[in-house]
């Protein structure tokens, strides 16, 4: 087991390192950020100085070395466009994304999981077909389309919900009074973006719940539980649910990370000041450190989640441990 964990950890590190390298290289292919500062009539001396300050005057391998070195100290550098430290900006935005992501996550689970279970328990019936259809439609409607339709109906025609931003409340790390209140304010602002974001994932959740549940319901151990004469509702609620929730929760965890870190389109449509918008801004401004920081944070979270899942699975099922 220890060997298995070590190997997995090593793989995760290698993956992270590759990710860092790919991002580093790719971001540098997007263009010269100095030119972005060099608006019409810019002073060349000023541009030279910025170049030096941003470390872009050094050779690529030196830039890479210092980037990795700083990264190991948890320093993502300073944003080119927004002037402040990437880490500070990222963590300032993270609560907003977290709020949106969590709300969407809850929506995707509340919609997806019960429907998926129903679908699986009533497999090949009318219920199942409706469930499958909902899932497919969910997966087929782009988030921005759902978002726009919501804006038309609830924002403009009915005028029930605000259409922009996250409202006035903000989580400020410096003032602990906002740490809690932030999550419970401005719910009206949250409804539409969270639904538009959660919609797609609820389709995915429905599918994974359904197939996970079907896998479990078709398994020998559920058969044996039934053969023991355990009441059907206990078969489902106790054995089937617990077992089928493992892949569902794994998937949901991954979804949460994606919703938090890269809800680019939804955040842009709803003007939601989250991490996704930060990434989008960063890309259009060739803000290397910002893009690197955001992508790496999301990569780090995903790699860590995968590692945890691998280890947990390894504990639960020795066969996985051996087969990898």
């Amino acid at each position: 087991m220890r060997r298995y964990i070590l190997v997995r950890a090593l793989y995760s590190l290698v993956t992270l390192w590759l990710l860092v390298t790919i991002i580093f290289g790719m971001v540098r292919l997007t263009g010269d950020p100095i030119q972005m500062k060099g608006e019409v009539g810019a002073d060349p001396v000023y541009l030279e100085e910025i170049k030096k300050r941003w470390g872009l005057d050094k050779a690529l391998h030196q830039q890479y070395a210092s980037f990795i070195g700083k990264l190991l100290q948890g320093d993502f550098g300073h944003s080119f466009e927004k002037s402040l430290s990437v880490r500070d900006i990222y963590f300032e935005r993270l609560p907003n994304s977290l709020k949106l992501g969590l709300a969407a996550f809850v929506i995707s689970i509340v919609l997806g999981v019960p429907l998926g279970m129903l679908s699986a328990l009533r497999v090949n019936t009318w219920w199942d077909n409706v469930g499958k259809m909902i899932a497919l439609v969910g997966l087929s409607m782009p988030g921005f389309f759902v978002g726009m339709v919501l804006i038309i109906i609830f924002g403009i025609e009915l005028g029930w919900l605000p259409v922009l931003g996250k409202g006035g409340s903000a989580l400020v790390w410096g003032s602990p009074s906002t740490w809690l209140t932030f999550w419970f304010r401005d719910w009206l602002h949250l409804i539409m973006p969270a639904f538009a974001l959660g919609w797609y994932f609820s389709g995915a959740m429905l599918r994974i719940t359904r197939s996970g549940m079907l896998d479990v319901l078709g398994s020998d151990y559920i058969k044996l539980v039934r053969l023991k004469g355990v009441p059907e509702r206990m078969v489902v609620a106790k054995h089937a649910l617990k077992n089928s929730m493992i892949p569902v929760l794994t998937f949901a965890g991954l979804n949460l990370l994606i919703m938090v870190n890269v809800a680019v389109v939804i955040e842009v449509i709803f003007n939601w000041p989250g991490v996704g918008q930060l990434l989008y801004d960063g890309l259009s401004n060739r803000d290397f450190p910002m893009v690197q920081g955001v992508v790496l944070m999301s990569g780090l979270m995903i790699v860590m989640l995968n590692f945890t899942i691998d280890v947990l699975y390894g504990y639960v099922d020795p066969r996985i441990r051996l087969s990898r």
Binding site: Y11, V14, T15, L16, L18, L19, I22, I23, M26, V27, L29, T30, G31, V123, N124, L136, V137, L139, S140, M141, P142, G143, F144, F145, M148, V149, I151, I152, I156, S211, L214, I258, N261, V262, V264, V265, V268, I269, L279, Y280, L283, S284, R286, V291, V295, S298, G299, I302, V303, N306
Partner: protein
Amino acid sequence: MATIPVRATPFDGIFRVARRSYRVVADVPSIPLLIVSILTFVAIFAPVLAPHGKLDPVKPTPAQCQAKFGMANCPYIDNVPPFWLSGGTFDTPLGTDFLGRDMLSRLMYGARISLVVALTGTLFAGALGTLLGVMAGYMGKWWDQIIMRVTDAWLTLPSLVFAILLSSVRGPGLWNVVLILALVFWSRYSRAVRGEVLALRERDFVRLAEINGVGKFTIMFRHLVPNVMNTVMVLFSLQVGVAVIIEASLSFLGVGVPPPEPSWGLMMAQERESLMEGRWWLAVFPGIGITMLVLSANMLGDWLRVRLDPQLRNR
């Protein structure tokens, strides 16, 4: 002991084949097939079918100009509603956009873009991913380690972020979107194909070929590639829908297909502001187009998956 031949007339065989193929055809979900066929037909014959051009405004009559702008001559009439709303005409059944261009024609040409981009992009991704997956699975050792580590790192990047990142390297453009889709999605194939190849590698026909001294590349392309085609096809069909959405999202964000080409995602982005003015149709029609295409692609993909994977027959 003698084997007892199964007696059968030649007709039995024909009947059996006929019965089987009928079952397959009868089993294809008809609605998505119909939608995809219609969209493909429209996409191919858009220049013939479209009532107007995709880039040029519909020429207005002086009377129309007088009514709308109070002048005898105007280049176009913008924002004509669909025919069932007041002010709509049958000449432009789904109305016109902000430049007086016919929505219906643009939607037809838009189907072209979506299909071409999604299909070619996914195809390239499939080819690249299959190749790398077969290599990783069959060559093993370092090949496997390197390819799979890169695949893992690749999969860690959410596809849309990756696509946006690549698009700011390449800039907007239709073929750039194709390239981006190929570069983003290959890793999905290589992961699945490698697993398949690991199992196939141990099978008799591969062993036999190895013993007979068949070259590595021949084994990979003659024996392994055809055998992973089922998996690749299933992945392909499911990935096409995602590719359509990614293309639309990129165009929506302004980093995909550049205007004035009528990409559905771009049309939605351009008419986002019209929504506030109540001209919902301008953004909703392309949205419906995307949804229909992706929905039917997904349904066909699902069906194919069940068809090609006997374990899932009853799902």
